[in-house]
């Protein structure tokens, strides 16, 4: 376990590396969810490289580790990339994404990948798992914290709200939900498919402490994680406004984001994207 850096310049460089890797490995795999992964890069980096998450890549099952659960499991390329960069497994493995025999399946499998805290891919289930981890921590007298990333579309699942209610009832100050509010889901804009507004009021009404930030502003992300740590007896929602496909102009500018949901860039598009991200 090491301290991590709060040097935003250094972290921005890492963000570039993460984005390039996400594009490369999904294009190579020929399938997967790059746009989903690109919106959460700045949410992950402070956790894994900024010292927010207490963890040890050499001891992924350390009982006192902080938990990170990717409830939006189709963001696996982002999670795998940050785990590999952090040394949970060799970065070279990333190029085996979705290939038969590889542990890096299309969606995270906790039985096969060190550092993957939960098997996900059916949306809506991660926050409940987080509640369970947080309750276990309290029971066992351990002071680890639990972080769960939920998609904005994903938050339409009823189970998310069942979990939100439970987290509040149990006063889980050790639980943080990060809402990746990138405005799009599989078949279109979240506002059009099924509005989730007013986000802050809804989560507040469910008993959560809400912090609203620009999810690509690393400083704001650090500040949100820091603030969450000071909140006792209540879970925290980090309402992060993000851009789906952040950093890749072709995706960012596509009005119908659904064209790119679950669709990798073609080799030509990827070449352009990698230049933009260089």
């Amino acid at each position: 376990m090491e301290e991590g850096t709060r040097d935003l310049g250094k972290l921005s460089q890492l963000a570039g590396h993460m984005r390039r890797t996400i594009v490369e490995i999904t294009t190579k795999a020929g399938s997967g969810h790059p746009s989903t992964s690109l919106s959460m890069v700045e949410l992950l980096l402070p956790l894994y490289f900024g010292g927010v998450l207490r963890h040890d890549p050499l001891n992924p099952r350390w009982p006192d580790r902080d938990r990170f659960i990717l409830s939006k499991g189709h963001g696996a390329p982002a999670l795998y990339t940050v785990l590999a960069m952090r040394g949970y497994f060799p970065e070279a493995d990333l190029s085996t994404l979705r290939v038969i025999g590889s542990a890096l399946e299309g969606h995270p499998n906790m039985l096969r990948v060190p550092g993957v805290e939960a098997s996900t891919g059916s949306l809506g289930q991660g926050l409940s798992l987080g509640v369970g981890h947080a309750l276990a921590g309290r029971l066992d007298g351990r002071d680890y914290r639990t972080y769960v990333t939920v998609g904005d579309g994903e938050s339409q699942e009823g189970q998310v709200w069942e979990a939100a209610m439970a987290a509040s009832k149990f006063g889980l100050g050790n639980l943080v939900c990060i809402l990746d509010h990138n405005e799009y889901q599989q078949t279109g804009a979240v506002r059009g498919v099924m509005p989730i507004e007013p986000v802050n009021d809804r989560w507040s009404a469910f008993g959560w402490h809400v912090i609203e930030i620009d999810g690509h502003d690393l400083g704001a992300v650090f500040a949100a994680y820091d603030e969450a740590r000071t909140i006792k007896g209540q879970p925290t929602l980090i309402h992060a406004h993000t851009v789906k496909g952040k950093g890749v102009r072709a995706i960012e500018q596509d009005e119908k984001q659904s064209h790119y949901h679950g669709v990798p860039l073609s080799p030509d598009e990827a070449r352009v994207a990698l230049e933009e991200l260089a």
Partner: protein, 320 residues
């Protein structure tokens, strides 16, 4: 596509595509059809219907249990409510609602699960419907359908819509071999005999029907003549055809792209045990999740090819 290749079967559309087209076409003559979606109409292909009939289409977001309940409410008002998502999500996440709001009151809800089986490939096990048939069979009164190709998908979609009562149909993601043609006839609950033979019978569903035909071809080269039945309706099951197969061919092999537990094979075995016991063999996914990978590679790894049917068939034949 590894399946059917040695028979030279032409590859046609995915059954999900054919279902989507048929549903849209039926929408023109059936104003009572409504469709409920959970943010996946571009995957399930109910999007074709949505495009032509936006007023009769409801996308409730990523909320499968709600989606099933909404469909049941629509059906309670005389609508033919079609509700569709990935097979695993609608059957697993919507199961209690299917049980209580659809099966128990026998509502006219048509459940269509896409991305059935392991041949979806790279997205991996969390997205694969490998238990959907077992779950559908656990819903009393549900008709359960499994089309083998695009023609079957069109015909079964029509029969499903035009027959009152709850039903489940599974569809696949991949383009699959063509077995039938536009004139092929389908009757709910009546298996289609695709090949004659008196040495053994292969009873298959979905993608495995093409594999069964291919296996029969390979077996014939070794002097074993196999009958092939496409059991496109898993309920009501064609017990007559199964009993006849047992009596006339003396051994039966089943093949399905589904967990062996609770699938086609065990339904057939129950009929065989009850009528005319003969040696049997079972091809399917055995008590495990699959992994990510190219569809063909997965079918080989998990034992769902014509060669696997041949291997299991010979063993059963040896005990005849």
């Amino acid at each position: 596509m590894i399946i059917g290749a040695r028979l030279g079967l032409p590859v046609g559309k995915a059954t999900r595509n054919a279902f989507g087209e048929a549903l849209r076409d039926l929408g023109r003559s059936h104003p009572e059809i409504v469709v409920v979606d959970g943010d996946v109409h571009n995957s399930t292909r109910t999007g074709y219907f949505a495009k032509e009939f936006p007023d009769r289409f409801f996308n409730v977001g990523i909320a499968e249990s709600n989606m099933v309940g909404v469909a049941a409410g629509l059906a309670a008002n005389g609508k033919t409510a079609v509700v569709s998502s990935f097979a695993c999500f609608i059957m697993c996440n919507g199961f209690d609602q299917l049980r209580m709001s659809v099966a128990f009151p026998q509502q006219n809800v048509k459940v269509v699960g896409s991305h059935a089986g392991i041949s979806i490939g790279e997205d991996g096990p969390s997205q694969m419907g490998i238990e959907d048939v077992a779950l559908a069979l656990a819903l009393p009164g549900f008709t359960v359908l499994c089309p083998a190709d695009e023609h079957a998908a069109r015909a079964l979609t029509r029969l499903m819509i035009e027959t009152s009562g709850p039903a489940y149909m599974r569809t696949g993601r991949l383009d699959v071999p063509i077995i039938y043609n536009e004139e092929s006839e389908f009757t709910l609950g009546r298996a289609n005999r695709l090949r004659d033979g008196n040495d053994l019978t292969i009873i298959a569903s979905g993608l495995m029907v093409a594999a069964a035909l291919e296996a029969a071809h390979l077996l014939a080269e070794e002097g074993i003549e196999a009958r092939v039945l496409d059991m496109h309706t898993i309920r009501p099951l064609d017990a007559e055809a199964i009993e006849a197969a047992a009596r006339e061919t003396g051994c039966i092999v089943t093949a399905e792209e589904h967990l062996l537990a609770g699938g086609l094979g065990q339904q057939v075995a129950a009929v065989v045990a009850d009528t005319w016991p003969v040696p049997m063999g079972f091809v399917g996914l055995d008590n495990q999740f699959a992994t990510s990978g190219a569809p063909d590679a997965l079918l080989v790894r998990y034992g769902l090819t014509a060669d696997d049917i041949v291997r299991v068939a010979k063993r059963a034949f040896g005990r005849r």
